[in-house]
């Protein structure tokens, strides 16, 4: 038995997000892309609509939405602006470690305040010398009475400059690699926290990406999420849940690139006919469409598996979804620019922005190569 039918609620929320994209995101997407400013007006509206922190369970006053819901939402958001999509959905990434590894008291203290006002949290795993090899991180925590002292630096932290809370992954002993890892909540205003500059990025320019340095930052022991040694597991469980939605954002961006291409190819005339009458263009459009469909199905299935609690199968499905959707969106965006020709290469038309934006999906939250490592490991295991 199989069904690809979204529920009535999922259709309703998809419709709502589509309107939000049309009326609110798209009119300002180019402006924020050029200025690189953080899109607070959009974040505030997204918050009011309930699009942020969607995974917080109902018993804490949240909506308790599943990963498939998140996939549906993020695909729609991705059709508007991927930078804004990232900024909106990073709260879920940053709060998941607390939801998955924290005690009810910690969830109440750290997560619940995010439901009453538009606030930002950041997920801090990557470091200047630790990216794909997350087990090699060196941000250090040391016990000191009833506190931990945090030292180290993080890199490429999304929304860092706007955040009030950081979910930080650190280690008690770097030699222990993943076994020494811990997750600790650091308030952004703690003494010893300093931020780098807003990185001037190729795409997703309005998301606020920075380095963070922790210098003898004292945090109460009650901020430790789970136990020392559980940090890596918490990070991986979090990323399992956020990969399908992140990938779905790329599917949305690719869908938008395709829609722009279809429209433009019907309008643009060469050799006394619209270029959509040429098979060369038709086949590009057809391939783009198939790729978008395939990406969506992979993302939705990965979300569905996670919602069913089939985490082992979901781990592989998420890798497939993220790898394929990110690479696919890049190909589709490049083809869209090609369909637009010279016009597509300018900022007057929306496709070059999509091309710059989707590039990041091949890099963040596990590169396309790391996804292949996950897939190959599964294929080759005894």
């Amino acid at each position: 038995m199989i069904s690809f039918q979204l529920s009535d609620e999922q259709l309703a929320l998809k419709e709502m997000v589509a309107r939000f994209v049309q009326n609110d995101m798209l009119p300002v997407a180019a402006k924020y892309d050029q200025s690189g400013e953080f899109p607070w007006e959009i974040i505030k509206k997204a918050f009011e609509l309930g699009l942020m922190n969607i995974a917080v369970p109902q018993e804490y006053g949240g909506l308790g939405l599943g990963v498939l819901d998140d996939v549906v939402i993020n695909e729609e958001l991705g059709t508007g602006c991927l930078g804004m999509t990232t900024s909106i959905s990073v709260n879920t990434l940053a709060l998941y470690p607390i939801l998955l590894g924290g005690t009810p008291a910690q969830i109440k203290e750290f997560v619940v305040p995010f439901l009453s006002e538009p606030k930002i949290a950041s997920f801090c795993l990557t470091e200047p010398n630790s990216g794909s090899d997350a087990g090699s991180l060196s941000t250090h925590i040391k016990e000191d009475g009833d506190h931990y002292i945090v030292n180290g630096s993080k890199m490429w932290i999304t929304n860092a400059g706007q955040a009030s809370l950081f979910s930080v992954f650190a280690t008690t002993n770097k030699e222990l690699r993943t076994k020494g890892m811990a997750c600790i909540v650091v308030p952004a205003d703690a003494k010893g926290v300093s931020l780098g500059k807003h990185e001037d990025k190729l795409g997703q320019r309005c998301s606020d990406t920075r380095a963070i340095t922790f210098e003898n930052v004292r945090v109460p022991k009650s901020h430790l999420i789970g136990k020392v040694g559980e940090g890596f597991k918490i990070a991986m469980k979090t990323l399992d849940r956020t990969r399908p939605p992140i990938a779905a954002g790329a599917v949305g961006a690719a869908r938008s690139a395709l829609q722009h291409s279809v429209k433009y190819s019907k309008e643009r005339r060469q050799f006394n006919q619209s270029i959509s009458s040429f098979q060369a263009i038709q086949f590009m459009l057809a391939d783009m469409a198939t790729k978008v469909e395939a990406g969506r199905l992979l993302c939705q299935r990965a979300g569905w598996l996670l919602d069913r609690g089939d985490f082992e199968a979901a781990n592989l499905a998420s890798a497939h979804a993220k790898r394929f959707s990110a690479d696919m969106a890049m190909e589709v965006a490049i083809d869209a620019v090609q369909v637009f020709g010279g016009y597509g290469y300018t900022k007057e038309y929306p496709v070059e922005k999509i091309m710059r934006d989707v590039k990041l999906v091949q890099i963040y939250e596990g590169t396309s190569q790391i996804q292949r490592v996950v897939i190959a490991r599964e294929l080759l295991k005894d």
Binding site: D8, A12, L13, E15, M16, G50, I54, L63
Partner: protein, 259 residues
Amino acid sequence: MNIFVLIKQVPDTETKIKIKGGGVGIETGDIKWIINPYDEFAIEEAIKTKDKIKAGAITVVTVGPDRVVEALRTALAMGCDNAVHVKTDADFSDGYVAAEALAAVCKKQNAELVFTGKQGIDDDQCAVFGYVSELLDWPCASVVVKCDIDAGAKKAKVEREVEGGGRHTIEMSVPCVVAVNKGINTPRYASLPGIMKAKKKEIQSYALSDLGVSSTTSNVTDSDYQLPPERKAGKKIDGDPAAQAKELVRLLHEEAKVL
């Protein structure tokens, strides 16, 4: 105060309309249905009014086949409290029977104030609000762009849009029917928590026969449907800029007659 909003589900404004074989009616198979945009303004105005007078509940009512329940769910998700579905598969192109049903629901459930759109964007008859106010024997104002309800004094002060951008202010007693125009407000979105709550709410359902309407089919028979003529291709003016400008002015004056 018992506030009622009367809505209609209509084809999305971007729908490509196809006429049915036989020339009467339109193909509804591929249509994406939305809440009539003028009725969306009515929903928003009802919510704002309720928030302002800090009392009462909003009931949204519509007439139509099962698909219209989706419009009711959206209205609930936006913030309406109750929903009533008058179920029928008949197509009322005159709106009178629909108005009878809507008025009957308002009476049955003790409505004290009715908001609705000034017209449906599908048939554009601008008729239902008038029929309903007549059937309820309530005053009514249409093309309303500003509305102040004084619940204590049972008075409504409304501004209507009139030709040439003028405003016509009238005061009427409440209960009354307020038929709103674009520009009165900006309708909110159905929020995510709203959507989740809406799915749990019960939708009351009536059959036309429960409501004592004069007929269960339309009183009007449609005879012919035609699509508007296709837009003609644009005209390209050749020559140097001075000649082009001259020709353009001549065409605007003589052919388009806009100068």
